[in-house]
Amino acid sequence: MVKVYTSSVIDAPADRVWATVRDFNGLPQWHPAIRDSRIEGNHPSDKIGCIRNFNLKDGGNIRERLLALSDYDFSCTYAILESPMGVRDYIATLKLSPITDGNRTFAEWTAEFDCEPERAGPLAQQIGQAVFQGGFDGLKRSLGRR
């Protein structure tokens, strides 16, 4: 089991950041690597079990299922159903915590998955940096205070 943990500080109130990231269909609005996204079967994007189907700017297609969404904890958990990355049993959680000192947001993005052993290092690097840190950087650009 490979584990990835990435965390960051976003200079915006947690409820504002959450309003952006809670939309399971909203990745193209803030994640720089995502070209477009839709929810399969016309379900609302906060319906547990719904599937987002999105295309990366480099051409890959990914399907992910929403497993849990908590407006109370500011957290969202999902699983990859299909992807070109070669991961199995991939489950990720994006969680926000308010930083009372300065009214900022502590954002954590974690993932656990299995893969071919020799692919573990590069995959962890790619997910932790390109996917998660890249997403945080996108949020900082769109929400962060100057």
């Binding site: 943990y5 965390s7 960051s8 500080v9 930083i99 000192d101 300065g102």
Partner: protein
Amino acid sequence: MIQVRRSTIIDAPVDQVWAILRDFNGHERWHPAVAESRIEDGRAADETGCVRRFRLADGGELREQLLTLSDRDHRFSYCILDAPMPLYDYVANVSLKPVTDGNRTYWEWSSSFAAPKDRADELARLVGEGIYEAGFASIQAMFGQAAPSRHSARAVTAMGDHRPLDGGAVVIERYGGPEVLRWERTVSMPPGPGEVRIRHTAIGLNYIDVYTRTGYYPLIQPPGIPGMEAAGVVLDIGPGVHGLMPGDRVAYACPPPGAYCEVRTMKADLVVPMPDEISDRTAAAVMLKGMSAEFLLHRVTAVKEGDTVLVHAAAGGVGQLLCQWARHLGATVIGTVGSLDKAKIARTAGCAYPILYRETDFVERVLEITEGRGCNVIYDAVGADTFLKSYEALAVRGHLCSYGQASGPIPPVDIAAFVGKSATVSRPNFGHYTGTAAEVRSICDRLFRALSTGVLQVEISQEFPLRDAAEAHRALESRRTTGSTILIP
């Protein structure tokens, strides 16, 4: 259950921050509120169940027990076993997480506890700011981080910074007229053992302040600060002070004089916390007179339903309170007053029979009203002019309470003559009824209840800025004031 949660970012890797925080006895080295700490029974500081006993910089002692400690999660939890403030079922969690983006640390400190309803906000603020945020600022400073939080400066102040503070005071330069009252800059020292430092919000004006100024009562040796009563907020407390916390609203009425100032450091034992429903202005106006009324009616003697009570100077400060309270206790109140206007004031206060003593002989009138029986209790602060006549107006087995002598000293009396009525005569002294913390709190319990339930009504008719105290004295001495007068710093 009250929940408090605070969080911050420390500009250091999580391992370095954890190395400091995981020592359950280490807070004496980094938390500004903790003076010293030790682990009881020689146990290790990372042994769950161990108890740290520590003293706060302001003197209070606490015992806290380590419940869980995880080096894997960078987390520990603890509970309070003993504390000087009413924090019940207090369980706290300290948790660190790495910020991978920048190699920093996210620190969350949270707790849940129960507290008396009227102190919930104050205690939540104390825990959140005085403990958690003050701790954040201290660790940030250790890692060379400029404290970004605008809260932390306030937090440290709220816990009492124990530094000398500048303030202003009205000082009596020498005995004399109102002109000897001068505004001066002063410095209030941090509270020593048994002391409290208070920022005044309202100060009561009393005739005794005039006597202090003229030297008629040698209460101070000039130069000195007059003033017997005030209300305010506790800034900090010295070692060994219990029952008061920084941030508490408090009031007092006690010697020595010294209330005419912005910030005062004084003995803590006669200072009482105030309930929310009583304003600072009311407390400053009523403490001295109200505490007097309380012990006169309840302790010197116990006025009860069916009694007939004579109150001299019934429209005066204490007189009005005696009328209101005696009436509420079920007594019939007779009062002496000097004018028709004052008769109206006394009647409003509950005096059923105001007597204009300049026109009507009060003894005759009292005997008429009581059908010859006289009064069960007589409160007489007039003194020379009234004492012997008051005895004539007293009922058999009555109580004549002489609590002042505004008209001059009372001539010597022949105690054997009291046998004519089996009379009790008392000469109470404020200090003897209000000299201990227990007595003051007991008196104030009843006084505050009477104020908050409306049994006692206090009319504040004049307010002067503190630095214009001389003008306030002129108004008081020339009888231009009615009701109570307060000074506002």
